[in-house]
């Protein structure tokens, strides 16, 4: 009997655990270690942040689902990985610390045969002074609690506008190295839609602030789309959306500090500027969650398993190539750690070889460029691929993973949907294939022009609503859940 420990019960880890259990049945143990009691369909937090959904609509309790599936569930966080065991006992284990199940603070050693790190991001609010809902002056929609709080604050702004007062709303990225521009963009579109539908737009000044050098970059270097008989860049598409809605934009910005009412930022031209605001939602920069690695003699080997940003080393090319030499082949295929063949990382937890957007610095040398996004669809696909590889490795008793999920061979969809009504809603729907430009395969634009597209309309809103229910159905492991694609 083999034990597979999955660290993190989010989008990628939960998917991995579901497929592992489905394939391995009762003969092997699947254990999920995750600090959260609830599963969260994070993309729908946007709707919580706008008051169209409650947090109960985007979450469910994990324990009953894991019980039904015979997956062992430890409500705990991983603290350190011991890939070579301890002293003379070379069985690898993870040190975990409970966050629930009546054992808060207790530590335990969990032995494993295979380990999947699916711990997602640490929300690094402290990297920018004054951002974040807990100790700062801006709100966030990254967790369902943050989103609920954001909605409360937003309501205050609606009241202000209703009283006839003017208000400036700033949405965007809270640091020069942020990712997840799609989430900020979607929240922006929702805020605008809500204010417009309440007839309060003439009093509201809505501004997008981003570390993208130009609109429509989305951390993937932008994309080319077929539109109206032309091949246009997503910059044109995005600027059109903003211009139509009279939303202002500030690009190439590194937010340095946020005081109550004022956001200070530096731009690529080196100028330091500031903007006054009444309501701000700024996405924080992400890093790994800070798990360490320890050798059997007790020495710290964290740098063998993790990059300095806390993300886990996998089968990527980390040689630090220059931008002009970047290749689709730099991106990991199997997500296996090169040193320990029984360790994998999926979703946001794996260390990308480099960015996707062109790296840029301000004239003062401040890095201002998006880090690579790893969105829901690729994260779940990585979880599934690694689960299937581990099943094969157990069956064939070897160390070679057969399944791949490479970001330069996978597509992604981003639907920024507004409104709750099936007739009045709208959405900006975008897909890209592949996520990382593959100029070897698509020499001109790096992506397939037939599978990369963007359009605006009610249809996207229907799709996003459908996806919300489908993904929650799947995550709850309801009948035939495995037929729903990632």
């Amino acid at each position: 009997m083999k034990t597979i420990a999955v660290l993190g019960g989010g989008v990628s880890g939960h998917t991995a655990a579901q497929f592992l259990k489905r394939k391995l049945g009762k003969n092997h143990r699947v254990i999920v270690v995750t600090p959260n009691a609830k599963w969260n369909w994070i993309p729908s937090n946007i709707w919580v942040g706008i008051g169209e959904m409650k947090k109960e609509d985007v979450t469910f309790e994990l324990a009953p689902v894991y019980k039904k599936m015979n997956i062992e569930y430890l409500q705990a966080k991983a603290v350190s990985i011991h890939p070579n065991g301890q002293d003379k006992d070379n069985s690898p284990y993870v040190k975990i610390e409970y966050t629930g199940q009546g054992k808060v603070g207790q530590q335990e050693e969990l032995k494993y045969d295979y380990l999947i790190n699916a711990t997602g991001p640490k929300l690094n609010f402290h990297k920018t002074e004054g951002i974040g809902p807990e100790h700062g002056n801006t709100v966030s929609v990254c967790t369902y609690d943050h989103a609920e709080h954001a909605f409360k604050e937003f309501n205050g702004i609606i009241e202000k506008l209703r009283r006839g007062e003017e208000a400036t709303i700033v949405i965007g990225t809270g640091h020069g190295t942020c990712t997840c521009q799609g989430a900020a963009f979607e929240y922006l579109m929702n805020i605008d839609h809500k204010i417009t539908s309440l007839g309060l737009k003439d009093k509201a000044n809505i501004i997008y602030i981003t570390n993208e050098a130009r609109l429509g970059d989305f951390g993937v270097g932008g994309m080319h789309l077929k539109k109206g008989g032309y091949i246009t860049h997503s910059k044109v598409f995005a600027e059109s959306l903003f211009a139509e809605r009279e939303i202002g934009w500030i690009t190439g910005a590194h937010v340095e500090k946020v005081e109550k009412g004022t956001i200070h930022f530096e731009q690529l031209d080196g100028q330091k500027r500031s903007i006054n605001y009444d309501f701000g939602m700024l996405i924080p920069p992400f890093s790994g969650v800070g798990i360490t690695a320890v050798d059997n003699d007790g020495s710290d080997i964290t740098e063998k398993l993790f990059k300095p940003n806390g993300f886990m080393i996998v089968d990527a090319d980390y040689t630090g190539k220059e931008y002009k030499d970047w290749s689709a082949k730099d991106w990991p295929q199997t997500l296996q750690n090169p040193e320990w063949s029984n360790i994998f990382a999926v979703g946001i937890a794996f260390a990308p070889p480099h960015a996707i957007s062109e790296p840029r610095k301000s004239v003062n040398g401040t890095p201002i460029a998006p880090t690579p996004p790893r969105t829901g669809m690729p994260s779940a696909m990585m979880g599934k691929a690694v689960a299937l590889s581990i099943c094969d490795m157990i069956k064939n008793n070897n160390t070679t993973p057969r399944h791949t999920a490479c970001m330069s061979e996978m597509g992604a969809a981003c639907v920024a949907s507004t409104g709750s009504n099936l007739i009045n809603g709208s959405a900006v729907s975008m897909t890209m294939f592949p996520i990382v430009q593959n100029f070897e395969k698509y020499p001109e634009h790096g992506r397939s022009l037939s599978l990369t597209f963007g359009e605006v309309g009610l249809a996207g809103h229907w799709i996003k609503t459908l996806l919300h229910y489908l993904f929650i159905y799947k995550a709850k492991a309801k009948p035939l859940w495995w037929l729903i694609p990632e």
Binding site: N205, E239, G248, A413, L451, L458
Partner: protein
Amino acid sequence: MSLIRKERPYEKAEFAPKPTWIVRFLRQNVLFQFYRFIMINIKMIKLIFKSHK
């Protein structure tokens, strides 16, 4: 126009394409959008199959 509008960092918008009324109408037209719903779903299914290869 209120003062706040003049303060927008916003002149760039003059150069962006804006949709005509017909485009805006079609975006909300249920019949046309039903057709787009089918088309977008087909594209997404193709994308999923290609990603799973």
